[in-house]
C-alpha cells in the first residue's frame, strides 16, 4: 500500500522530485539528496528503498536495469508527476507543523524541568552550528554569483534560487536558536520560582 501523501515532506516525495528533475539511479539520487539537503539529515541510502517502492506504486518506471539494484535507472510516470506537483503547489499551513518541543511541553512535570533545560541547551547549540553552516553556504553561493558577474556570464536563476534557499535556512536557523534560548530562560524562571515551593509542599 502506498504511504506517499501530499501533505507531508516525506523523503520519498523528495526522491520523486529528484527523478522528475532528471532520470536517475538510487545511487545518484542519494548523492543529490546528501548534497542538496545536507542539514536536514535524511536517512542515508533512503533512495535505495524509495525508488523501487515508488515504482511499485506506479509513480516511477524502470528505464534501464543496472548491474546491481542501486544502479537501476528510473524515470517519473505522469501519475508520479501529478503527485509531486500537487505536493509542490500545496500551501503549507501552520497545523502541519508538528514540533516535538511543543508537544513535550504539554507533558513536563517539575522534576523533568532541569533535564529539559539541559536538553534545550544542547538543541540550541546544535541549531547554532546548523545556522553557521547555512551562513557559510549562503556566502559561498553569493561568492559564486559575484564570480559569474565578474566573468560576464549571464545570471543563473537556479543559483538565485539556491541563494534564496540558503538565506531562508540561515534566518530559520537563527530564529529557532533564539526561540530555544528564550524557552530555556522561561523554563529556568519557572524552575527558580516554583521549585522550592513545590519541594516544601512535597516535604510537608
Amino acid at each position: 500500500m502506498s504511504t506517499t501523501k501530499v501533505g507531508e515532506t516525506s523523503q520519498k516525495i523528495l526522491c520523486l522530485g529528484f527523478v522528475i528533475q532528471h532520470e536517475d539511479t538510487a545511487q545518484g539520487v542519494d548523492r543529490r539528496m546528501k548534497r542538496r539537503f545536507s542539514s536536514e539529515r535524511f536517512t542515508r541510502g533512503i533512495a535505495h528503498k524509495s525508488l523501487p517502492s515508488l515504482a511499485e506504486d506506479g509513480f516511477l518506471e524502470l528505464v534501464e536495469e543496472g548491474t546491481a539494484q542501486p544502479l537501476d535507472r528510473y524515470r517519473a510516470t505522469p501519475k508520479g508527476e501529478e503527485l509531486f506537483y500537487e505536493w509542490l503547489r500545496q500551501t503549507e499551513l501552520p497545523p502541519t507543523v508538528r514540533d516535538a518541543t511543543q508537544c513535550k511541553l504539554e507533558f513536563y512535570e517539575m522534576a523533568e524541568l532541569p533535564e529539559a533545560i539541559e536538553s534545550l541547551g544542547e538543541q540550541q547549540e546544535a541549531f547554532g552550528v546548523a545556522t553557521d553552516i547555512a551562513h557559510e553556504r549562503l556566502q559561498e553561493e553569493k561568492r559564486a554569483r559575484r564570480e559569474r558577474r565578474r566573468r560576464g556570464l549571464p545570471t543563473d536563476w537556479r543559483l538565485e534560487l539556491r541563494i534564496a534557499k540558503a538565506k531562508d535556512a540561515v534566518k530559520l536557523g537563527g530564529m529557532l536558536t533564539k526561540r530555544l534560548k528564550e524557552l530555556r530562560a522561561d523554563l529556568q524562571q519557572i524552575l527558580d520560582a516554583y521549585n522550592i515551593e513545590i519541594g516544601e509542599v512535597a516535604g510537608g
Binding site: 541549531f127 547554532g128 552550528v129 553557521d132 549562503l138 553569493k142 554569483r145 538565506k167 537563527g174 530564529m175
Partner: protein
C-alpha cells in the same frame, strides 16, 4: 590571508552616576584580509563602542588593538614609554582616514557636497587629486550622479552608495561601517552585500571590513562572520540579538566590577 585587525582583552566602561557600566568586557576579535565581519547587539548594546575602539576613535580601558601588527594610536601615552619612543611610534601607527576609514549612517552635515565627503579621507593625508579619486570611487559604486549634490539631498540608498564610495576611495587596510547598511529591504541588502564584497575582493592590497548591523537577518547577508555583543561579552551570533524591551534593566545587568588599576596595568593599556 593573515590577521589584519586584532582586538585582545579589550575592556571599556563608563561612569553612570556612581556606578561603573562595563560596556565591553575582555573582548577579543580577529579580522583577516578579505574578510567582512559583522557585529550585532541590541540598541546601545556596545557595538558602536567596539567599532570606535577598532577605529582608534576611543581608547579602551584595557586590552590591545593592532592593525596589520601595528598598535593603534600608540603615541597617545608618551609618559609610559618615553617621548622619543612615542614619537617614533607615531610615524608608524595606523592613521584614521588612511589605513582605516570610518563610515557611518549619520554622514556629514547636511549641506556638505558629496565629492568633499568622499574625498575627505584622501584630502587629510595630502592627496591633491581628491575630486578625481572621489569621482572614480563614486563611479565604482554607480553613484557618479551624486558627486555635486549635498548629503542632505540624498536618499537612503544613495547615502549607502556614497558611504561605500568614501570607504573605498583610497587604499585603506580596514573599512569600518557603522549602521550604514541597515534598514533596507532584503533585496537591497543583498545588492549592498554584493557591492561591498566586490569592493573588498577588488581592493589592492586586500582590505578587511568591520561593520555593525541592528538585525541578524541583514548581518548574515552582509558579513562572512557575525558576532554579538551581549552583556559586554562578544560571542558568535547564531540568532537575532536579545529583545530590547527594558533598556535600563539591561544596562544595570552589565554593571560589573571593572578591572582594578593594578589588573589593568598587568594587561597593558593597549596604547603602550
Amino acid at each position: 590571508m593573515g590577521e589584519l585587525l586584532v582586538l585582545d582583552g579589550v575592556c571599556k566602561g563608563f561612569w553612570r552616576g556612581r556606578s561603573w557600566l562595563g560596556v565591553l568586557k575582555d573582548v577579543g576579535l580577529e579580522i583577516e584580509r578579505g574578510q567582512v565581519v559583522g557585529v550585532i547587539s541590541q540598541r546601545l548594546g556596545g557595538k558602536t563602542t567596539l567599532l570606535e575602539i577598532a577605529a582608534g576613535m576611543q581608547r579602551p580601558d584595557a586590552g590591545t588593538v593592532t592593525l596589520a601588527g601595528r598598535p593603534l594610536e600608540s603615541a597617545r601615552q608618551p609618559g609610559l614609554r618615553g617621548w622619543w619612543a612615542a614619537r617614533r611610534e607615531r610615524a608608524t601607527a595606523p592613521k584614521l582616514g588612511h589605513d582605516l576609514v570610518w563610515v557611518t549612517r549619520d554622514g556629514p552635515r547636511q549641506e556638505l557636497e558629496v565629492s568633499k565627503y568622499v574625498g575627505w579621507p584622501l584630502a587629510v593625508h595630502g592627496r591633491s587629486d581628491v575630486r578625481t579619486l572621489a569621482a572614480a570611487a563614486l563611479e565604482r559604486v554607480g553613484a557618479q550622479d551624486c558627486i555635486s549634490r549635498q548629503w542632505g539631498e540624498l536618499s537612503n540608498w544613495q547615502r549607502l552608495l556614497v558611504g561605500l564610495a568614501r570607504g573605498f576611495a583610497g587604499t585603506p587596510q580596514l573599512v569600518i561601517i557603522d549602521d550604514l547598511l541597515d534598514g533596507h529591504t532584503s533585496q537591497d541588502t543583498d545588492v549592498a552585500s554584493d557591492l561591498l564584497h566586490s569592493l573588498v575582493e577588488e581592493s589592492e592590497p586586500r582590505c578587511g571590513v568591520l561593520l555593525s548591523a541592528g538585525y541578524f537577518d541583514s548581518a548574515v547577508v552582509l558579513a562572512d562572520e557575525v558576532w554579538e555583543v551581549s552583556g559586554g561579552k562578544l560571542t558568535r551570533a547564531s540568532g537575532p540579538p536579545d529583545a530590547d524591551e527594558d533598556h535600563d534593566e539591561d544596562l544595570d545587568d552589565v554593571i560589573v566590577n571593572f578591572p582594578t588599576a593594578e589588573k589593568r596595568g598587568s594587561r597593558g593599556t593597549g596604547y603602550a
